[in-house]
């Protein structure tokens, strides 16, 4: 059986991580195609609902990439996001989803290399976790269906 190719959504802040992703492209730094990038004005803009709906609608992992601590364009949006991510990881765990599937990272606009490394690392983590374990996926794995 081949390696599991997860579906991952990455919410990237316009002022840092999105520019870093852009720079990664210009610098010919490749990152896995599993990641769909969504630009957000600030990671502090991301309501808890965004993360929940992402998982509810079939994402295997959610990456939140905000500015480095202390350099948020809106002063403390990234710190708000950090607290929200921490709290929603608990709710996800309660609902039966491994908390490693939601992660927040901090990169600067010049951090193309760190962002690519974070993405690769996150894709690897989620790929190792496999699809979200539901009654159906567990059944498919044990019966050999869906391979």
């Amino acid at each position: 059986m081949g390696k599991y190719e997860p579906k991952i959504i990455a919410f990237c802040c316009h002022y840092c991580a999105y520019s870093a992703a852009d720079l990664a492209g210009s610098s010919r730094l490749q990152y896995p195609a599993n990641v769909r990038i969504v630009r957000t004005p600030c990671t502090g803009r991301l309501e808890i609902d965004y993360y929940m709906k992402a998982f509810e609608n079939g994402m295997d992992g959610v990456l939140v990439a905000g500015c480095e601590e202390g350099s948020c364009h809106f002063k403390d949006g990234n710190l708000l996001a950090k607290r929200r991510v921490n709290s929603i990881r608990t709710v996800l765990a309660e609902a039966g989803i491994e908390m490693e599937r939601l992660r927040m990272v901090n990169v600067s606009a010049a951090g193309a290399r760190p962002l690519v490394d974070y993405i690769k690392e996150f894709v690897e983590t989620v790929s190792n976790l496999g699809p979200i374990k539901t009654k159906e996926t567990v059944k498919n794995t044990t019966t050999g269906a869906g391979k």
Partner: protein, 222 residues
């Protein structure tokens, strides 16, 4: 306001597992302000229940709705259609709201999604503290506006107990000693002499100890 806290998702799943069509019903008043059961929290709880249902194969069909106030019949009307359509209601209101819905819909299972905690205020962002025990016989006038029933761990009417450490309670070291606050407050408002009067034991029959309470206002009855 009434302050409440969300039950955990596994607790909710345990409560709801015998049903399929579930309505998560939020309340737009106190529990919205204390960030426990308003529209935003209803959406999060509903999402978490859908995910838990998928993971555990429970077959939940979760819908969501938030009304202005669950403890008032006029507002409950707005949820009539949604309640009719579901098998069970998970109410994220305070205990009063949950019971108001259950009384209005006697044939419908109605469950509490929150633990109603206390009457309190938002002390700072993310911190709610208890201020009133709803004892039914307010004594705040004697204590400079600081309630010893609620805020002193020993409910002392003639304090302090002598166990406070660095102005903090010996039972809950993270909370200030109520009697320290009472002393300071009475001194600040020039009423320190009030402490020389011994307060008689309180009549608790107006509190929950006297049985379920009811207030009847004949001037408002029809």
């Amino acid at each position: 306001m009434i302050v409440a806290e969300r039950k955990t998702i596994p607790e909710m799943v345990e409560i709801l597992k015998r049903h399929k069509k579930i309505l998560v019903l939020g309340c737009g008043t106190c529990v919205t302000v204390c960030l426990a059961g308003g529209e935003r929290e209803v959406s999060i709880i509903a999402s978490a229940l859908r995910i838990a249902s998928k993971v555990q194969g429970l077959g939940f069909e979760v819908s969501e709705l938030t009304i202005e106030r669950q403890c008032d019949n006029i507002f409950i009307e707005q949820a009539a259609e949604a309640i009719e359509k579901c098998d069970a209601v998970l109410s994220t209101a305070c205990g009063a709201g949950v019971q108001a819905i259950a009384e209005r819909y006697p044939q419908k299972p109605v469950y509490a999604g929150l633990n109603t905690a206390f009457l309190g205020i938002l002390e700072e962002r993310g911190v709610w503290t208890e201020k009133c025990a709803a004892c039914g016989d307010c004594v705040l006038d004697k204590y400079g506006g600081v309630c010893p029933i609620t805020r002193c761990a020993k409910h002392m009417l003639n304090g302090p107990c002598g166990g406070s450490r660095e102005d903090h309670c010996e039972i809950r070291p993270d909370r200030p000693c109520a009697w320290q606050l009472i002393y300071k407050r009475l001194k600040d408002i020039g009423q320190i002499e009030r402490l020389e009067t011994i307060v008689e034991p309180k009549d608790w029959s107006s509190s929950l100890s006297g049985g379920p309470r009811v207030i009847i206002r004949e001037d408002h009855r029809v």
